[in-house]
């Protein structure tokens, strides 16, 4: 059992990572960041922080593994089914009422479940060819998995399928994957309009303009100061009168850009940009 990590040790770790690898974790939320580090120490049998910091300093491959474990890659298809109904019945019809094609950004797409959820929704409503999607994540390993996902069947049945049914899809979730040896291979033709790329919300900045941005349960791992900066990035990356969707327990009320959005649905955390 790992003893407690001191804040000072976490600060040193962040400093080393920033100097050597140019990732800035200084403004990550302490409680979860500390838990991720402890989890890593236990998983990889690293005896203490001094050893960890030394290994990260000297071994880039080791750091890659560390990055991969640090980011939280727990997600679901159609998480919060009622939100997905709102996307289908309100958000997208509103956008399509005045334009033929729309651009969507999934920021922090992790293993890709949400991107597939979106593409299934689009396909079932005949919109798939009218949408271009960008899916980004800080972690290149997870992006590789997101592109051609193999989701385990237990999760598929117990979580994803249940969510899909609650959402009220027109088909069966099994229409969109092939099962082999307890693993669901997703139908990659669904994501032919998706561009996957690495992007670090902390430092990569704006790369395109969108009609809809989804960034759900990503910013909970940041402190408020960093959240505020990232909110500004999203505001800048949205066309006026476009939509912004965050996690059901995230909020932008205290951020600088709060006054530039109106709330479309408080429960589902759907916002609309109304001011440049």
């Amino acid at each position: 059992m790992i003893e407690d990590i001191e804040i000072g040790e976490l600060r040193t770790l962040c400093q080393v990572i920033q100097e050597k690898y140019k990732y800035d974790f200084n403004n990550y939320a302490i409680s979860s960041f500390k838990r991720r580090v402890i989890r890593f120490l236990e998983l990889f049998k690293v005896p203490n922080m001094t050893v960890l910091i030394e290994k990260i300093k000297t071994d880039p491959a080791f750091f890659k593994t560390f990055m991969n474990e640090l980011t939280v890659n727990v997600t679901e298809m159609f998480r919060d089914p009622s939100l997905w109904r709102d996307i289908r019945d309100k958000v997208l019809p509103n956008l399509f009422s005045t334009q033929e094609t729309i651009k969507i950004w999934h920021a922090g797409c992790s293993s890709g479940e949400e991107v597939y959820s979106m593409c299934i929704l689009l396909k079932e409503n005949g919109w798939l060819d009218n949408v271009k999607i960008w899916a980004t994540d800080i972690d290149e390993n997870i992006l590789a998995k997101a592109k051609a996902p193999k989701y385990n069947m237990k999760n598929m049945f117990e979580v994803n399928e249940k969510n899909y049914i609650r959402y009220g899809g027109t088909g069966k979730l099994s229409d969109y994957y092939k099962e082999e040896h307890g693993v669901a291979h997703m139908d990659t033709s669904l994501v032919s309009n998706v561009t996957y790329r690495t992007h670090d919300l902390v430092k990569s900045g704006i790369f395109n303009k969108f009609d809809l941005i989804l960034c759900r349960n990503v910013m909970i791992y940041f402190n408020q100061q960093l959240q505020n900066e990232v909110f500004k990035l999203f505001h800048e990356s949205l066309f006026n009168y476009s939509y912004f969707i965050i996690g059901s327990k995230e909020t932008l009320i205290w951020s600088e850009i709060a006054g530039k959005f109106i709330t479309i649905n408080q429960e589902e955390k759907i916002f609309k940009k109304v001011k440049e």
């Binding site: 407690d4 939320a29 997600t75 059901s248 995230e250």
Partner: protein, 196 residues
């Protein structure tokens, strides 16, 4: 352990953490119904609950509660006298700087929210000024968190196992660490009200 000997310094605590599984709903209802309305510490509650039911839990608890209960948003500032209930499908932590932090990390003992996460993070911030209470429950989630809380000098109360519908949780906590008191619900309420 008798309550007569109870001699807890009122100013000793800064926060209360309560853990239990779905079956603890009635115990929690009773505690919140009989707690002194002037109770002015924050209370953090991690109770196992259905992951796909987002609404209704707070409303049901509020019916009889003397204190205000919220399912906080991420990074919400912690106020005294408020009960913070971990939202469904999120772990709830106390963040340095007295904020709530939510997370979607892996389930722990098949649970999200996990009691371990709330107990561990709260006692990291409030140190020996943390009062932990473990109620009836059906798995061992919370035992490790209770040990962390004790290691940091916190005070541990466990619901009397014989009173519990399912005693796995309190029994696991008792095994994991040297708890300070094993009490019936009515005495847990007395302890809390002695802090007002």
């Amino acid at each position: 352990m008798s309550l007569q000997n109870l001699n807890i310094d009122k100013s000793r605590f800064k926060a209360v953490v309560i853990g239990g599984s779905a079956g603890s709903f009635q115990v929690v209802t009773k505690i919140l119904a009989e707690i002194n309305p002037g109770f002015d510490l924050p209370i953090f509650m991690a109770l196992h609950r259905l992951k796909h039911v987002r609404n209704g839990f707070v409303e049901a608890l509020m019916l009889k509660s003397k204190l205000n209960i919220v399912e906080p948003d991420d990074k919400e500032s912690i106020k005294r006298g408020i009960v913070y209930l971990a939202p469904s499908n999120y772990h709830m932590s106390v963040e340095l700087g007295y904020k709530i932090a939510l997370s979607t990390e892996e389930m722990i003992n098949n649970s999200r929210p996990a009691i371990d996460v709330t107990f561990d993070s709260a006692s990291y911030v409030y140190k020996n000024k943390t009062l932990g209470i473990m109620l009836t429950g059906a798995n061992k989630d919370g035992a490790w968190g209770m040990k962390r809380l004790k290691d940091r000098g916190g005070f541990a109360i466990v619901q009397e196992p014989s009173e519990c519908t399912i005693d796995t949780m309190p029994t696991a906590a008792i095994k994991a660490t040297q708890v300070d008191m094993i009490l019936h619900t009515s005495d847990i309420i007395k302890v809390l009200n002695s802090l007002v």
